[in-house]
């Protein structure tokens, strides 16, 4: 009998079984539930009636400051108030309110997930927490039920292995590599699958850069994206995890349905073109496309390394006079580190706006909206129509490429500035 992948082993353990196989349906105990704007879930609770509390006050996390950051109208202000009241009423202990950050970075940074944990979330980017070897999967509407039962059902996913070795060219970042993988696997190439990211390049990345890979797995349709825990993971988790944990590793003879090897040294800077995140081209093919807004941040670009990369380009340079640059740190801790390294000053000197941490202008929430027909380039994960308006073409790229476009006012190969 063959060995098992991390995804299979975590789901077996969480469902109390010796082993599970791809395709099988299992019901598992959930270690963490993430939500950013659970107003409709609390409305569900009212409709169900008689809800005493959530299943475990320690395991449900609400990051109201993710979207409902500085509410700009009465409706959003009322929604934020309703969420705060609901957290109290249903015994939810962890509420991250305005200014604390993007919920996906917070879940990992604040130790609400750990290697081997099962997490579900009411946000399609919940796959993010696979960066530390947790099995994390979006469930959205069903989180109402998970909050009451503490359980969720999964179809055990077959696993696709992605191996990334070698050193990238200067100016090529984890986002470029992840964007290339997304393009290769496609928007539904990992539907109901797990994707596991491995190789010396992945092991050399910090946790936030690994998160770009696990998070973008959802753009391939995946159930979860995982990185096997290593020394970097265990060092990161030290003193952070809210539970003692036993990491889960692959069996040496784990079975994969497919393997993709990425030749990193050959990879050029990549860019996703509208209207879908998997439509990816080399940046040079788009060179000269004019932009109105550049955005460094979002759950694939708000990490400290992202800020360092963007600042490499922007230090001593000015943002193009017809471009707005918005910089959104992932969390308050990341903002604190930026202050220590003087990066906020770099962005301000360049003519950019640094906001407090939240989810950012990835869609029309709160601040940073686009006018009809305006063009944005950003480090965030999505560019589908209907997020920032129906006709607001949006390009997705690395912090280097985004910062370079902010300086030139046009999409530009960032390597000329490095």
């Amino acid at each position: 009998m063959g060995g098992h992948t991390i995804a299979e082993k975590i789901l077996a353990r969480a469902s109390g079984k010796q082993e599970v196989f791809p395709g099988e349906t299992v019901i598992v105990d959930v270690d963490a539930v993430f939500m950013h704007s659970p107003d409709y879930k609390f409305q569900h609770f009212e409709e169900i009636g008689g809800v005493k509390s959530v299943f475990d006050s320690e395991k449900v996390v609400v990051a109201a400051g993710h979207h409902l950051f500085l509410p700009a109208d009465q409706k959003k202000a009322d929604a934020a108030k309703y969420v705060r009241e609901g957290c109290k009423r249903y015994g939810i202990k962890y509420l991250y309110d305005m200014g604390t950050g993007n919920g996906h970075y917070l879940m990992v940074e604040k130790g609400h997930v750990w290697p081997g944990a099962v997490a579900v979330g009411s946000d399609s980017h919940t796959t993010a927490y696979g960066c530390i070897g947790a099995l994390a999967s979006p469930m959205n509407w069903e989180t109402t039920e998970v909050m009451l039962s503490g359980k969720a059902w999964f179809r055990v996913p077959p696993t696709i292995l992605v191996k990334i070795d070698g050193s990238p060219q200067r100016g090529v970042s984890a986002r470029d590599a992840a964007q290339h993988v997304l393009n290769t696997i496609g928007a539904d190439g990992a539907l109901w699958h797990a994707v596991e990211y491995s190789g010396r390049y992945i092991n050399g990345l910090d946790i936030q850069q690994r998160m770009i890979f696990s998070l973008l797995t959802t753009e391939m349709g995946g159930t979860c994206g995982l990185v096997e825990p290593d020394e970097v993971t265990l060092a990161f988790m030290k003193g952070r995890s809210r539970r003692p944990f036993q990491p889960v590793y692959n069996d040496p003879d784990a079975g994969y349905v497919d393997t993709l090897e990425v030749d990193l040294p050959e990879l050029e800077p990549q860019i996703a073109v509208p209207p879908q995140p998997h439509f990816t081209k080399p940046v040079v093919e788009l060179a000269g496309t004019e932009i109105n807004q550049a955005y460094i941040g979002g759950c694939t670009g708000g990490g400290i390394e992202d800020m360092r990369m963007a600042s490499e380009i922007l230090r001593g340079r000015k943002v193009h006079p017809e471009v707005r640059l918005i910089v959104v740190p992932g969390t308050r801790d990341i903002l604190g580190q930026m202050l220590k390294e003087n990066l906020v000053q770099v962005f301000m000197d360049a003519g950019g706006l640094v906001t407090p941490p939240y989810c950012g202008p990835c869609q029309m929430h709160c601040v940073g909206n686009l006018g009809e027909g305006e063009v944005m380039i950003g480090t965030h994960p999505r560019n589908y129509p209907g997020r920032t308006g129906a006709h607001t073409p949006t390009y997705l790229a690395s912090p280097y490429t985004t910062a370079a476009a902010a300086v030139v006012g046009k999409i530009t190969d960032p390597r000329q500035f490095l």
């Binding site: 349906t25 009636g49 008689g50 929604a79 109402t144 539904d188």
Partner: protein
């Protein structure tokens, strides 16, 4: 008799949930209904009739896990029929008691306005113009159970004694 007849509205591959429920309209169902899927077919929000079906290609309901199915249901769409559906959209929408039936190759056989007869319990789609009957992928048993109960909320209410987080009897 669980079969139901209706007209098809056709869409392509990777239709995203933000085009079904646009950002900014999440807390305004009437406005969401007035703009549903207009990016891909401006006629759809104006002319879709209760009982109609969506027939789409691969990965319908890609992207965000927002309550997109709720808008389709509110417009009276009877079922979403597609080559395949986005995972979260699929789970969400069955939980709203709006069926999503997957059948690879379906999209190529149907044109906009075609009459279909769909049997949700049997998992069959009959294309009336040709008489061809297609068998859809099996729906997970738990989703069929939730669907038959009238959706997730009704399903929870029907088994509330199993939850230690709920008062067992609302009348006490």
């Amino acid at each position: 008799m669980t079969a139901t007849k209706g007209r098809a509205w056709t869409f392509g591959d990777h239709i995203n949930t933000e085009s079904i429920l646009t950002t900014g309209r999440e807390r305004d169902l009437e406005s969401a209904k007035a703009h549903v899927l207009e990016y891909y077919d401006p006629e759809f929000p104006k002319k879709v009739q209760p009982g109609d079906f969506i027939v789409a290609g691969r990965n319908f309901g890609a992207s965000s896990g927002r309550q997109a199915g709720r808008v389709l249901k509110a417009k009276g769409v009877k079922a979403v029929l597609c080559d395949s559906a986005g995972r979260v959209f699929y789970r969400n929408t069955w939980n709203m008691a709006l069926p999503v039936l997957q059948c690879a190759g379906l999209r190529d056989k149907v044109e906009k306005g075609d009459e279909l007869e769909v049997d949700i319990e049997q998992g069959t789609i009959k294309i009336l113009k040709t008489g061809e009957i297609l068998k859809t992928d099996e729906t997970p048993a738990i989703l069929m159970e939730i669907y038959r109960a009238g959706g997730m909320l009704e399903w929870i209410k029907s088994r509330r004694h199993l939850y230690k987080t709920l008062e067992p009897d609302l009348n006490q």
